[in-house]
């Protein structure tokens, strides 16, 4: 299986590469329409800011290729990558997202606790979610973010809490997956979630 990591922005994708290679995947860094068309699964990694990332995708004419991939093949957005899947975002100025999910991205409430939300926190899901297969409820995963996704459609959610207020830690909409946390930095639990994504097949 060939997994593509979208080459976007700046930041550490080395741990993601290490994790995928541990599971025996062939991994390719993709940055063109042709490369995206050649892969089985696509991962949008998460570093940078919403606005600048979308500009970069637009300048490199990658928005449509990503949307086409997401129509039939598995895609996982991690952290900013998940946020980019929404309809719009506000970080760095209001801008359009990839519009794979009907939702928007906004700052976590800054009156509840310290921002950024950095560290290990529990996740759980009441819905059927293929990322959560064999993952115990209240498992801990690593977060590092200030923005959150506000999703307006009824899809399978993974939840966490920011100073006792619920926020969306991840989701699945058929073949489209997102995690606000970093599975590639979340030790055993993260490995399991990545494995679940890799093993997911479209019925």
């Amino acid at each position: 299986m060939l997994v593509g990591i979208l080459k976007i922005g700046h930041g550490n994708i080395r741990s993601l590469l290490n994790t995928l290679e541990k599971f025996g995947c062939d991994v390719d860094l993709v940055s063109s329409k042709e490369e995206i068309a050649s892969i089985d699964k696509l991962i949008l990694p998460g570093v940078g800011s919403f606005n600048s990332a979308m500009k970069e995708l637009e300048n490199n004419e990658l928005i449509i290729p990503i949307q086409e991939h997401a129509r039939k093949k598995d895609i996982l957005g991690i952290c900013l990558g998940m946020q980019l899947m929404m309809k719009s975002g506000t970080e760095g100025g209001k801008s359009k997202g990839l519009n794979l999910i009907n939702g928007k991205v906004d700052l976590l409430p800054n009156n509840l606790g310290r921002l950024p939300h950095i560290g290990w926190n529990d996740i759980s899901s009441n819905d059927t979610n293929d990322l959560m297969i064999n993952v115990d409820s209240n498992s801990n995963v690593y977060f590092v973010h200030s923005y959150q996704c506000l999703i307006k459609e009824q899809i399978s959610m993974i939840h966490s809490d920011f100073y006792n207020q619920d926020f969306i830690a991840g989701f699945q909409k058929e073949n489209i997956f997102g995690t606000q946390f970093h599975p590639e930095k979340s030790q055993n639990v993260g490995d399991l979630i990545i494995k679940n994504f890799l093993e997911h097949t479209n019925a």
Binding site: V47, S49, P116, N140, V144
Partner: protein, 251 residues
């Protein structure tokens, strides 16, 4: 609920890990790679690596950092003389999830702004070297050696907020490597003034130190000596803290 973090803070010199006392007198405590492998298996919540050679010679050993990051199965923070966007790029490209900045924060704030814009606040940690003198807090930089900044604690914090720093790591110079206990008065003061996530380091002597500092509301405690010299285990500390109702991550 968000968990508190226990963070091994490792000083890299060549291929070795060293440990300082009051920021000087570095002694070798082990081979870098093998020690990092051990911490990766012991349920630490993050790892901070400060590269003394990179700081002193101005060059990041990217090959070593890549090898370290391949072994480190937790978030990795790297610091060592990062004073340009290029060096930040090298650190992140080689596997750092976050970087610490110190001298450049005081000398080249415009560069810090650029790095924050490029990588986001959440990836940038200000490493602040603080010395309590009488009833004042003196901020040092450049290896906490001789250079005193003209900013006091509050001004430094304000500048950090202005530049979009995501997190602050405070090193207590007086207690570094002393293993005579965290300075809880200092920590209480810091917590009341710093609204960002706060990690404290310097002087951890025993498990009760962790308990006291977490009760004061710090987000993370970084330590070196207690792991190197006393061999206190992270799992042991977490078990102790859980019993004290501290919100730690356990297996």
């Amino acid at each position: 609920m968000l968990k508190v973090r226990i963070i091994p803070l490792l000083l890299l010199k060549g291929n070795s890990l060293v440990k300082s006392v009051s920021f000087a007198d570095h002694r070798i405590v082990g081979d870098a790679m093998s020690t990092i492998k051990v911490f990766s298996r012991r349920f630490a919540d993050e790892m901070i690596i400060l590269d003394l050679d990179a700081r002193d010679k101005g060059v990041i050993n990217t090959e070593l950092l890549k090898r370290i990051s391949a072994e480190c199965n937790m978030p990795l923070t790297f610091g060592g003389g990062i004073d340009s966007v290029e060096k930040a790029d090298q650190a992140f490209y080689s596997g750092a999830d976050k970087i610490t900045i110190n001298s450049a924060f005081f000398k080249k704030p415009e560069i810090i702004k650029k790095i924050v814009d490029r990588y986001g606040s959440q990836s940038i940690v200000l490493s602040l070297d603080v010395k309590k003198q009488d009833n004042d807090f003196i901020i040092y930089y450049n290896n906490a050696s001789k250079i005193v900044t003209d900013l006091n604690l509050d001004q430094s914090i304000e500048k950090a907020n202005m530049l979009g720093i995501g997190e602050i790591l405070v090193n207590d110079i007086n207690r570094d490597g002393m293993m005579n206990g965290l300075d809880l008065d200092l920590i209480e003061t810091l917590r009341s003034r710093i609204k960002l996530p706060l990690i404290v380091a310097g002087g951890c002597a025993d498990m009760e130190d962790f308990n006291s500092a977490f009760k004061l509301g710090v987000d993370g405690i970084a330590a070196g000596s207690i792991f190197h010299w006393i061999g206190e285990s992270i799992v042991g500390i977490k078990t102790y803290l859980k019993d004290k109702d501290i919100n730690v991550r356990t297996l």
